[in-house]
Subunit: 413 residues, 2 copies
Amino acid sequence: MSGKLVEIDAAFVEKTVVELASFGAVGETGVSRTVYSPEWVGATDYYANACAEAGLEAYRDAVGNVWGKLPGSTAEKSIASGSHIDSQTPGGRYDGALGAVAALIAVKALKEQFGIPKRTIEAVAFCEEESSRFPNANYWGSRAITGRIRPEDPDRVIAFSGETIGQAMRDVGLDPARIPEAQRNDIDSFVELHIEQGPILEQAGLPVAVVDAITGIRQYRGEIRGVQNHAGAFPMDIRHDPLAGFTEIASGLIDTAHRVGRPAVTTVGRVLVEPNFPGIIPAKVEFSIDARHPNPQARRRLYDAHEGLMQEVARRRGLDIRWDVMLDHEPSQSDPAIVSMLQRVATEQGVPFLTMPSGAGHDSQQMAAIAKVAMIFVRSKDGRSHTPDEFSSIEDIVAGIRVLAAGLHALAY
Amino acid sequence: MSGKLVEIDAAFVEKTVVELASFGAVGETGVSRTVYSPEWVGATDYYANACAEAGLEAYRDAVGNVWGKLPGSTAEKSIASGSHIDSQTPGGRYDGALGAVAALIAVKALKEQFGIPKRTIEAVAFCEEESSRFPNANYWGSRAITGRIRPEDPDRVIAFSGETIGQAMRDVGLDPARIPEAQRNDIDSFVELHIEQGPILEQAGLPVAVVDAITGIRQYRGEIRGVQNHAGAFPMDIRHDPLAGFTEIASGLIDTAHRVGRPAVTTVGRVLVEPNFPGIIPAKVEFSIDARHPNPQARRRLYDAHEGLMQEVARRRGLDIRWDVMLDHEPSQSDPAIVSMLQRVATEQGVPFLTMPSGAGHDSQQMAAIAKVAMIFVRSKDGRSHTPDEFSSIEDIVAGIRVLAAGLHALAY
């Protein structure tokens, strides 16, 4: 279809985004929809119905991902697109959900405008990505598709409120013993559309990006212990104040990422002080570090610098420090041929774009274990995400879906 | 009695300390005894009984302070000693309670060994000093004695668990409307014995200190607001990360107090981050600053430096900062004549001592509004306080009580 524009119905896009957001709605624009909750059941039923109405073969797999399949004329491996249908608590309407909607609408448009493809095309709504109910779910939906959920995981992945993910599955009629049935070995390529969740497109004045890599992410849980004492009676020069050590470390880690420059990022987002009273030198500070870089060597140097600083400060100040790595995802590179193809079709569709790495983790990095992958980003207003204020314009979304549809066409027809 | 040793019964001291610690006991050595609690009622009854058994006129005043009076032969203003009977939750056996016990035992010893004084001598157990039930009680017991509790305070001082201090008073049979009756205008001098709560005496190898000033204390509640964003998708160079600003500020404040040197101290003891998730750049950091110096000019310079740093960092980083002063006590100087006298009698009693300011706040700084004041410190093991691990040896305590008794003798006989 080189040169031919894919037509996308903006009103239908808006209607679908708004209707999907009604499941777990919080206020005007917020959504709180954790995996296997009643709101989630509603949203997945809605998605399956929308797939069926679009003429796709809709089904829910063994872990709760919803698929809408447009069968191809050959037995070749299929082309898939989608994203997750769960949300932060609350998040917005677009994070994840937009990628599921975009896939559905792109496949529907291709079916209507180009007929039966050679390769089967599939739209998918992954059941879980946010870890907003189960902190260690670790891409539960896409991980099941890659066959990397271990038999013990359903009993070991525990919710913030204490229940296991296995129990939560049974509560919505899914049998955790059948998770292996969700595994797929017949997907050739996977293209995920997602909101950027950052300000780079907005600052560049562009609606869309082609994503050439997903950053490597490491999260540490650190703990510094000192000696609790009275804030007035203990001279500065003989204190072992873990808050003094923590603030020097956190300030230094952040400065390090600044000096390394884009795309390195380091965030300290969580801090717990004990006993946390104004008049008491603390006994303990617990903290998180989230450090990311898409380049494997630069990532290693960033982590080495962070760990070296923690050791040095703690030693100099006479504090006990320890840390655990809670999360460690290698960078994931997009397939170069798909990246080139998406750049080409974006140009053909008249959609201005830039090429960038993703600083957030995505289901695509899981799917990369079984398929060639790439992503498309849509501009986020003010770079906001994980909040009800998250917003992307319908114009930008339609531009993104047109690139997605043209890309799926290039891969499947 | 110049040169004559005051005899103090070490076994009786130990018995009294241990028995008083049974009210609100936590584990082997801890005490949790907030004002107007059942444990507090038990402790004040015990103290009143002990005063009566020592031959003192015991009574509870309108706010719940317990007094034990040894009437003098003249109508001159009286000499008083004591400290608070409430505790941290949990604290140890010695903070406050030891000063009440020391006063009782000193007056008992003087009565037994020197008979009727010229001036009335009074031992007192103040009802409240720790703010451990009512965060804004602000020296409730000694403040009532100075007449500085306002009529609206009983309804406005609110517990951590929500009740007013007026209601708590009524629950133990005290009428808040009668608080003004606790006011005293007939106290000439007040000498408070207290544990040091710091390591200075231990490091000096001395049992006792004469306290020549109580440090000035200011506590701030600060709040820094930035822009909440995704930890991965937002480049370092355009973040408004309140945690980055907070850690630079807190680290800088602590460094400032270090550079000023003893006796300046600055502590950041309380930190609350919102929303406090590893993968999210925070929206807000709330924090406390506790900064102290006993010299009025040096104190002013310390606060100016702290406030200047907060302004500078917030402006440079594009963060909103605000702070409230939650507590602001001017330094309180001990009466120079009483300090000299205590130094002299300590030497006469053969008790080695040093002279130092108090880095903690004490009832004495309230009592300074109506009487000449000074304090005596007793060595604290490892400088620990506000913990069940708090400990002072009976030998050190007896040395402190001998200085106290000799001081009261010098003032009253």
